[in-house]
Symmetry: C2
Subunit: 199 residues, 2 copies
């Protein structure tokens, strides 16, 4: 069975960087944005639209009770989200079958459970995440800490709800991972070689 | 400044074993039960009594309101617990000043914050902790899973309350640690050398 490493991460914690460098260090495949591109190709939806869907769980409208019948609005939206999620699951399994790999996000730790992945969660304290965002996001330096904090919280809220919706588990609950790494004041580059050996 | 490594751990997760082996691997001091012995010596209380105190927070009795005066029962108990905790803090700082070291439990991550310790939390799923306890605790094999689960939960409940009482933080909250390691189905021996290098 191929070695599969999944990475869950808080926004701004450097989880993506850690994943990419880990894949380089181990000389194995790395999947992140490629997943969106491939799903877009397969479902014939735009990349931008797929990105929105895979980062947000479907929004159910409450059924409207009329007499004895239930009417639900927005069903098409839900069906499309579910179809994209199903396609994503297929794709992740194809990656896991193909070769050793690192996969960032996408509930891969849960979806690929049968492949016995090594599951990493990357996190950091808020100020460290704000600093990382300021340095790396386009236009980040012009934003205030307050604005960036709000942005980080909103992204992570969506990630948490998405994860909970599709897996039934709490996002970031340490019991779901083999190792949780706090990147506050850490140089990711220096962690990677030892982490690779540990895996 | 000396390299200080603190280890918080769930009961049955193998955290103590990990700490001891880590200290051996790095060739540095290891403190665990020695702390109890030393405090007992300094406070002239029995080791058994100190062990009870350092593993449980003091139990405050609610003050009884009589007219304009407040009477509190059990004050002596609280004062003694606080004195033992204070002695423990002094001792931990002495260890940190003396040489590089690994310290298991005792809120050392919080008490030694000024020494910038590398903070590890060790955890595992319940079945794995039960199996570890059965194999390692005296008479463990004769106990049922249910009995051991109850025992584990009771110990960890005390650890959590003790930690929260003295630090004001949530025990096991991953943000309090540099790295959290899930030992479920893991061989601790094989983790240690790479962990030592990472630190």
């Amino acid at each position: 069975m191929n070695k599969v490493i999944t990475i869950g991460r808080e926004f701004g914690s450097g989880g993506r960087e850690l994943g990419r460098k880990l894949a380089e260090e181990m000389g194995i495949a790395y999947y992140d944005k490629e997943i969106i591109t491939e799903i877009a190709k397969r479902t014939e939806l735009s990349e931008r639209y797929v990105k929105t869907i895979v980062e947000r769980r479907p929004v159910f409208s409450y059924p409207v009770h009329v007499g004895r019948s239930f009417l639900s609005v927005n069903t098409a939206n839900v069906i499309q989200s579910s179809a994209v999620y199903a396609e994503q699951c297929n794709l992740l399994k194809e990656f896991a079958e193909k070769s050793d790999c690192v996969i960032v996000g996408r509930c891969a730790d849960y979806v690929l459970n049968e492949y016995d992945p090594f599951k990493i969660f990357v996190y950091a304290d808020m100020q460290s995440k704000i600093n990382r965002c300021k340095a790396r996001i386009e236009g980040g330096e012009e934003k205030s800490d307050k604005e960036i904090r709000k942005y980080i919280k909103s992204i992570d809220k969506h990630r948490a709800k998405y994860y909970e919706f599709y897996t039934g588990h709490v996002w970031g609950d340490k019991l779901m991972y083999d190792i949780c790494i706090n990147t506050t004041d850490k140089d990711i580059e220096s962690i990677v070689p030892h982490l690779a050996k540990m895996i």
